[in-house]
């Protein structure tokens, strides 16, 4: 099945556009795409009429062009006929936004459209979904444009079983400057499921990181997903809901009791190199880190900061997340100390973490970062910056980023307030270095780079 029409359609038909109710979801979709995106949009309503001065077509066969994507936002009982119309009219694909199928017990209605689509090899998303959002291309979400917070263009694709979580994570992405390549809401995943999305996005040149919000897999869908994930070179992240046990079933073996659904889920995905995020905070951190660095690391972290407390908290978090913080040798420390400003030579603590003290300046950070990169012992550096210290300038971001790029070692920065120190943050982010506003978050970013490798 060709899924391009879902993500880069040139022509779109929106079913259910009303000539009287401008708040109707189909009208919102029609309006935002016709006004804001490079796609030719046709509204369809059997009653005809006009909207925005444009003619509404009674059905697909009246539309003068071949349609790449049909967006269906009518009442559920009309959907089977519309799917048939799409198949007969040779539409490329459909996004069934309408709810009222399996999720409310109307299995019969869902089974009918699945049967028709399978027989005709016709791909559709949903039902009960938001469809697709591709920056600068298309947006089938029935949310008024001015209500949405959209992340910038980037390389992270996010696929979600829940539309609400999808839109919400996009807000979090925007907050943390995580760029998005594609967002897909797959709803009831009646035909197109997580595995189809994984296959498509794995081949998508605009996507470097693929993330999924999953409530559950269908029978053996998890196995197909895990196997497909093992074969992908791109980092894959999963955030899972529905983990709390839903009452103990009587089980007849020890293994059955120990290998419950959740344990099996985590184990099978870890085995396939999928990074599992425990919560939405981890999820955003993982997306941000892997968006910057796709090569995996062993997890030997060098920590540089100007506060002993920050260093200690970062090391504790590293330890809790299974990352190592190897010591810096006496000889390396001697050499490093010689390169520091005279005012801190006697007081800086150069183990790992490196605490340069509140009197450190940009040069001291640059020297220590280079020394950690050159040492060969470390495969990731976490720099915890306290930009309120007088010796630190806002130029340090781009300067440290350059060192990271020069030595090819991933750098992760902590900056406590992103708006106040925006130029510092941009110095990192515009040069491909992720920034976290929390110490824990910076460590989670390093954890993501381990890519869930077995011990």
């Amino acid at each position: 099945m060709d899924l391009d029409p879902l993500f880069k359609p040139k022509t779109m038909a929106v079913f259910g556009v009303s000539s009287t109710n401008f708040q109707h979801p189909a009208n919102v979709i029609y309006a935002k795409n016709s006004r804001r995106y490079p796609v030719k949009v046709y509204g369809i309503n059997p009653k005809g009429g006009k909207v925005q001065g444009e003619t509404l077509y009674p059905n697909l066969s009246e539309v003068p062009e071949k349609i790449d994507l049909a967006v269906i936002a009518t009442r559920a009982e009309f959907v089977p006929d519309i799917i048939q119309e799409c198949i007969s009219g040779k539409a490329g694909a459909a996004a069934v936004i309408s709810g009222g199928f399996k999720e409310v017990g109307r299995d019969d209605l869902q089974d009918r459209i699945v049967e028709m689509a399978r027989a005709a090899d016709f791909p559709f998303l949903g039902p009960n979904c938001l469809g697709t959002y591709v920056p600068m291309h298309i947006d089938t979400f029935f949310l008024p444009a001015e209500r949405m917070v959209k992340p910038g263009i980037g390389n992270v694709a996010f696929v979600s079983q829940s539309g609400g979580i999808l839109v919400d994570q996009m807000i979090k992405f925007a907050n943390e400057h995580v760029g998005l390549s594609k967002a897909v809401s797959i709803g009831n995943k009646a035909v197109l499921d997580d595995v189809d999305m994984l296959e498509y996005l794995d081949r998508d040149p605009e996507t470097k990181v693929i993330s999924f919000y999953i409530e559950g897999f269908g029978e053996d869908e998890g196995r197909r997903f895990a196997q497909r994930a093992s074969g992908s070179g791109k980092p894959i992240i999963v955030i899972k809901a529905g983990k709390s046990p839903s009452g103990m079933k009587a089980v007849s073996s020890h293994t059955a009791s120990l290998a419950g659904n959740q344990a099996s889920f985590s184990a099978a995905l870890a085995q396939s190199g999928v990074v599992e995020a425990e919560n939405e905070f981890e999820h955003v951190s993982f997306c941000e880190a892997l968006s910057a660095y796709q090569s995996s690391i062993q997890g030997n972290i060098g920590v540089v900061t100007s506060s002993g407390g920050h260093g200690a908290m970062a090391v504790d978090a590293c330890w809790a997340h299974g990352l190592k913080v190897p010591a810096i040798s006496e000889e390396e420390q001697r050499e490093m100390r010689r390169s520091l400003s005279p005012s801190i030579q006697a007081i800086a603590s150069l183990g790992n973490p490196i605490d340069l003290t509140g009197s450190a300046n940009d040069d001291d950070f640059a020297e220590c970062t280079s020394a950690l990169a050159k040492s060969g012992k470390y495969d990731c550096i976490i720099a915890l910056l306290l930009p309120y210290l007088p010796g630190i300038t806002l130029d340090l971001g781009s300067r440290m980023s350059d060192i990271s790029k020069q030595f090819g070692i991933p750098l992760i920065a902590y900056v406590p307030h992103e708006e106040k120190y925006q130029m510092l943050v941009e110095g990192f982010e515009l040069n491909g270095v992720p920034v976290s506003p929390s110490i824990e978050g910076s460590v989670l970013m390093a954890k993501a780079l381990r890519r869930n490798k077995p011990w």
Binding site: G216, F217, G218, E219, D220, E221, G222, R223, A226, V251, S252, S253, H254, T255, A256, S257, L258, A259, N261, A263, S264, F265, A267, A268, Q271, S272, P454, W455
Partner: protein, 232 residues
């Protein structure tokens, strides 16, 4: 090989109505898959019991064989360390009063670290393999590793390394290390068995799998059949 698989299929189909495989049959399946099992014999009389125990050599383990008893320890249907004829007959008489008694399984005593090797069919991921610290406390300690089957040799070492108890397998405080080559072979053979019969099997416990520097032996095996196997 093919004959072994056919023999296993026959055992599974004749067990399907019950929904699980009687232990002597389960041990036979393990043996057919190349997984070491203790020397054992099923007996139905005192005379057979005594001669079997003497042949295997005291001390022995005795277990009840009953199609009504899935969990033998719960009905006190296992006796270990039996070292003479008198105790053996005493155990036999006691087992004879257990519901559904059809005989007694007499097994050699095997030494080694107690591990658990298991399999479970997961709806989303298909057959999963479990390896961990075994014995009766397995659900209390929950020190286990899970992987999706089939397994590669590297999966076995990564499973072992992920256990809290992995130092016990490496030889802790003077005890001998577990023979990793034998353990790997057993786990891979088990994984092969599970994949070959994935449609028939719901769940398997090999607990304990007793591992020493010499060998890894499936001392107790419970095979629960799937609904699909039960329907055929």
């Amino acid at each position: 090989m093919v004959e072994d698989k056919q023999a296993i299929s026959r055992i599974i189909s004749r067990s399907s109505a019950r929904g699980w495989v009687l232990e002597p049959d389960a041990e036979h399946i393990m043996a057919l898959e190349g997984i070491p099992v203790p020397r054992y014999k099923v007996v139905t009389t005192h005379e057979e019991a005594v001669s079997a125990a003497r042949e295997i050599g005291y001390p022995v383990v005795a277990k009840v064989v009953s199609p009504d008893v899935l969990h033998k320890t719960e009905v006190h249907g296992v006796e270990i360390g039996i070292d003479n004829d008198e105790k053996l007959i005493e155990a036999f008489n006691r087992f004879a009063s257990i519901r559904g008694f059809t005989g007694m399984l007499i097994e050699e005593m095997v030494q080694g670290l107690e591990l658990i090797l298991g399999a479970q069919r997961d709806v989303q991921f298909g057959p999963m393999i479990l390896l961990g610290m075994g014995g009766t406390g397995v659900e209390i300690y929950q020190d286990v590793a899970l992987r999706m089957a089939p397994l590669k040799p590297s999966d076995v070492s990564s499973m072992v390394n992920s256990l809290k108890g992995h130092k016990l397998l490496e030889g802790y405080r003077g005890s001998e290390p577990v023979n990793m080559e034998k353990l790997t072979n057993v786990v891979l053979a088990f994984s092969g068995f599970i994949m070959d019969f994935e449609d028939s099997i719901e769940s398997v416990d090999v607990n304990p799998l007793k591992c020493s520097s010499q060998d890894c032996v499936a001392v107790d095996t419970r095979i629960i059949l799937s609904k699909k196997a039960q329907a055929t």
